[in-house]
Amino acid sequence: MTRYILRRLIAMPFLVLGIVTLAFLLTSVTKGDPLTAIVSDRQLNNPEVVAAAKAKWGLDRSLPERYAIYVGNLLTGDMGTSFITRRPVAQDVLYRLPATMELVIAAMAVGATIGISLGVLAAYFRNTVIDHVARLFALFGSSIPVFWLGLALLYVFSVQWGVLPGPGRLDARATPPPMVTGFMTIDTLLAGDFRLFLDAVWHLILPAFVLGWAVAGTISRLVRANMLEVLSREFILTARAKGAGEFRVVIRHALRNTMVPTLTVIGYSFAYLLTGAVLTETIFSWPGMGSYAVDAARGLDFPAIIGVTIVGGVVFLVTNLLTDIAYVVANPRVRLG
């Protein structure tokens, strides 16, 4: 099994190269004038800037050469300069990645908690009202467009009822803590400001739920199916014959046996979360990669678009690898076999 992980690790650089290549090709072959992708319209008339850009990106050269230059720059961590923010794309992305990760992790936590609980309940009480409600919850979760759900919940909980805060990571009047990790919940604690920490958590609830619902639905269906299978196995009878109570039977014996596939689906749900984050961040004015990507796409900010796409692909690749490793670690039979 270690050999399998090793093989995956060796394949990683090639996949990353593939991601870079595909992102580069898809976004540059189609464009008429690649210069507009690097230099903003206003600066197109500035011969110095144009010449510098041409030299740097080799625009006077053929596509393969340009590709080689892009990859060469990328190896030094240079993804070009965004012409919306006028900062290096790599810097922008690094600055915004933690906000997205915080949202995605929170959504994953929400999704996993709700999903596993509902899945267990639906399996234990199968074909009862609880089961049917859980199924509806799951189906709605994968059917509601997140951007609309975000709007609707903001309107209801924030505007109408005022029980949850509006968009943003913190109250607009609050002074954000100095950025250390980029995770607002952690940075507020590092700054020693507990009230600000609560505010950050408060602001996470709605977007995390909006993003986590669909994942909760998927997880609940999978957990339900696996629980039904496990609950019919003989060792469940053994546990009952030992005198274990129903709660213990369900959680310690049955649920633990479904953890491997559950972990896997949670890991793979990352793709969905990254996709959903793009839209959720837009609705909740969340300064992460998703809203950055949307701004870049709307503003035809190509260095930023390519950069975000590559980073998104790499993040996705790494989480899938981690999921596979977790699968191996969590499964005693695979681990020792």
Binding site: T27, L139, S143, P145, W148, L151, I283, V294, G313
Partner: protein, 278 residues
């Protein structure tokens, strides 16, 4: 069914409640796709009333920032969203199935090249890749459609390849090869006909997800352009008129109900084919 006998509907065994609800929802929107002009009172593009009017008897779902009737626009939206989703899936299936079949049947270097391309494409979060491609092609529904095909075809390539690999091991194919049939003939006559069913079922189930993706692209301004009554861009209008909640209500419910319809059908079919999960 006799016209004279009592019109009592007896539900066949395969038609479970989820399946029935799903079919009803999808049928409703298919009807709207065809008949939207006859189902609505107002023109979707005309400014027919005051701006940002709350729902009333004249305008059941209110009016938007330009005074257009939200209900009319919502129903007409089906004429954009559904054909686009069908196009995307159809083209993606055509490309994906062709390349997948090729990869599975020829194998070797062809297989490697195609499948690595599939792997790399599927390594992107779909929304991000679709956004990048749509943005570089420029806004517009056609370009969004192309972008979605680029994101979606690898799914069917994988599925088709797996199918071909499985089917070609069957005895009747080996018999055909042994009897001297040409490669092409074996592929088209003996292998492909047996591979379609799962691909087509999965394609149908994906329609809902494609509708969601298309609406998402339009929502961030990379799909439909004004004044097209497309659901995603209508919700985007609603987002900028945040306090007039009804502007986004119609298109939101439209997306929700049609995607829910496809998901209900998928769930019903799943129960039917895998009764253990009941």
């Amino acid at each position: 069914m006799s016209v004279l006998s009592a019109p009592r509907f007896v539900r066949p065994r395969w038609l479970s409640l989820p399946l029935m609800v799903g079919i009803a929802l999808v049928l409703f929107w298919l009807v709207a796709t065809v008949a939207a002009p006859w189902m609505t009172v107002h023109d979707p593009l005309d400014m027919v009333g005051r701006r940002l009017q709350a729902p009333s008897w004249d305008h059941l779902l209110g009016t938007d920032a330009l005074g257009r009737d939200v209900l009319s626009r919502t129903l007409h939206g089906a004429r954009h969203s559904i054909p686009i989703a069908v196009t995307v899936v159809a083209v993606a299936v055509a490309i994906g199935a062709f390349l997948g079949a090729l990869a599975g049947f020829i194998g070797g270097i062809v297989d490697t090249v195609i499948m690595r391309l599939v792997d790399v494409t599927l390594s992107f979060p779909p929304m991000l890749l679709a956004m990048a491609v749509a943005a570089s092609l420029g806004p517009g529904l056609e370009n969004a459609t192309i972008a979605m095909v680029i994101v979606w075809w690898p799914v069917y390539a994988r599925l088709m390849r797996a199918q071909v690999l499985e089917v070609r091991e069957r005895e009747h194919v080996e018999a055909a090869v042994a009897s001297g049939a040409t490669q092409t003939r074996v592929l088209t006559k003996h292998v492909l006909p047996l591979c379609w069913t799962p691909v087509l079922i999965s394609a149908t189930m994906d329609l809902g997800q494609v509708i969601l993706l298309a609406a998402s692209l339009s929502f961030i301004g990379l799909g439909a352009t004004p004044p097209t009554p497309e659901w995603g861009s209508m919700i985007s209008d609603g987002a900028s008129q945040f306090y007039s909640w009804w502007v986004a209500l119609g298109p939101g419910l439209a997306i929700l109900t049609i995607v829910l319809g496809f998901n209900f059908i998928g769930d019903g079919l799943h129960d039917y084919f895998d009764p253990r999960s009941k």
